[in-house]
Symmetry: C2
Subunit: 313 residues, 2 copies
């Protein structure tokens, strides 16, 4: 499957009326630190607080009226759960969200606030898949994968499309990478709409399956991820990996303290709230700042959903 220009344009046309064209902010102080022109695409201001809204909505908007009677289902304890719940609500259908029992109350509350129905399961992959299959069988809901899905990838790519539309001549775009939906979508958007723009990703050293997969040339699943960047604990999928391998320049691994430091820099200097996963892209920028000297660099701030009772500072 090859996602072409028209696929991306159609996707953007489809979801545009339902999402925020999020602002692109700059900070003269951070420009000085890196000695570059930086453009932060603020998906932390997106509906439900993250870019995940784009991909979720793109799938839900393409459901048939028949399918809408039965709803959608996914397993996620993160932003995709909220995004799918809100997308389903906006389109008048149901969302069943399989979540591990030990997911935090704040996450369950958020999914419920968007009208999602939570199915709790034990905190392991087997239980998750069993619960998901069961709910799909029982309800007729359609399973939607959080990232390993071309419609989701295309949806996530629209953030970079908007960034490129606003700033046509970027030398680089940096995103975080977890399952690879945002990174694959961004890489395709750059390839089709701004071919001279290179795409780089930041990844936590403690969950570096994407880096390892690129090194080895084959999918290396993530086991036992150790990082504060919750959204990036997942493994690349068989749909995201080939796109990333083909279109992404490099993946930069960052330490936990670099993530927290980058997060704090954005909070203190830009006065905006980003979650640790977003800070991974900023940390990747800072780690190799010489590379970006004098360049125009777009950074996708992927989300702003943090638990204020559990901050790393």
């Amino acid at each position: 499957m090859r996602i072409n220009k028209k696929d991306l344009l159609d996707t953007h046309t489809r979801i545009k009326p339902h999402i925020h064209n999020t602002p692109v902010l700059s900070s003269s102080l951070i420009n000085e630190i890196v000695d570059a022109q930086l453009f932060f695409k603020c998906e932390n201001f997106q509906k439900m607080g993250a870019f995940k809204m784009r991909g979720a909505l793109n799938t839900v908007l393409q459901l048939s009226d028949e399918q809408k009677k039965f709803g959608v289902a996914t397993h996620s304890s993160g932003n995709f759960a909220q995004a799918l719940a809100l997308s389903a609500k906006l389109q008048g259908t149901k969302a069943y969200i399989v979540m591990p029992k030990n997911a935090s109350d704040i996450k369950k509350k958020a999914v419920k606030a968007y009208g999602g129905q939570i199915i709790e399961c034990e905190a392991n992959l087997d239980a998750r898949e069993t619960s998901l299959n069961k709910i799909v069988d029982e309800t007729g809901a359609k399973f939607l994968h959080p990232y390993n899905d071309y419609q989701v990838i295309q949806g996530q790519g629209t953030a970079a499309m908007e960034l490129i539309e606003e700033h046509a001549d970027l030398d680089y775009i940096i995103t975080p990478v977890g399952g690879g939906g945002l990174l694959a979508g961004t890489a395709l958007a750059a390839y089709h709409f701004s071919p001279k723009t290179k795409v780089v990703a930041g990844e936590p050293l403690g969950a570096d399956d994407a880096w390892q997969s690129l090194e080895k040339g084959e999918l290396v699943p993530q086991t036992n991820p150790q990082t504060i960047a919750e959204g990036l604990r997942t493994s690349l999928g068989d749909k995201t990996f080939p796109i990333i391998r083909e279109y992404v320049e490099k993946i930069v691994r960052v330490e936990e303290d670099e993530i927290v430091k980058a997060m704090r820099l954005i909070w203190e200097r830009m006065k905006i709230i980003i979650e640790p996963s977003s800070a991974v892209a900023v940390a990747a920028l800072l780690k190799e700042k010489k590379k970006y000297k004098g360049k125009k660099v777009g950074i996708i701030l992927s989300g702003g959903n943090v638990d204020l009772d559990n901050l790393p500072f």
Copy 2:
């Protein structure tokens, strides 16, 4: 002294090239909570992180070349100290800042980062004034008051001017009130540029000298203020009070827990960082939300300088 339309327009023309025309943001969720159309003027995104930059800059830009040789001085442990230091730096002159010994390191650091020279004194009014007089005598620096100064008041009024320019038909504008510079400036801006817009202020119950002064019809100085909203612990001055008495509709007092709750609401829902003083205006809005039902309301988010190591949640 009567500040007229031309004074305000001249002030805005003077400072405009040096400040950010900060964005006006909205939140559909907070609109729903209040059942009103809310427009948040984000002075937390202003240079040095607060509206104080406007007033400080307006004074420094009017210094004679002769005076610039000697610099400016003030006593402040808050945002005005940073604003004056940065304004002086931008205009190539010196800023002497008298700060109490017990001011936090983070505040001293911020003033130093902007090139301000700190003079430490004991933490009482007498020591502060003695130190200030001494430094003014020694250096020839010009004393600038943080709020009880017509040029400062006019500078602070430009935030509301920009808000009104963007949203012409506001029913209300709400600001916090401490020394009254922002409130007086806002009230004058509304009076001159949008006469149908009423101006309301939020004030901490534990530092309610402005409320008491309006009740009594004369200046009631603040003694022993008790509030998390550091920026609002000061007393009205003899220049701010008469303007507030004439042009402000009312002052709404809010409890400490209402301030923290309002702050958290803005952080969580708008993903932007505001300081407790800014949250006081939001708390005043929420406290009397029935009053604002169906109305168009501007809220000035005065600043975003918080110590991330000392958050109230």
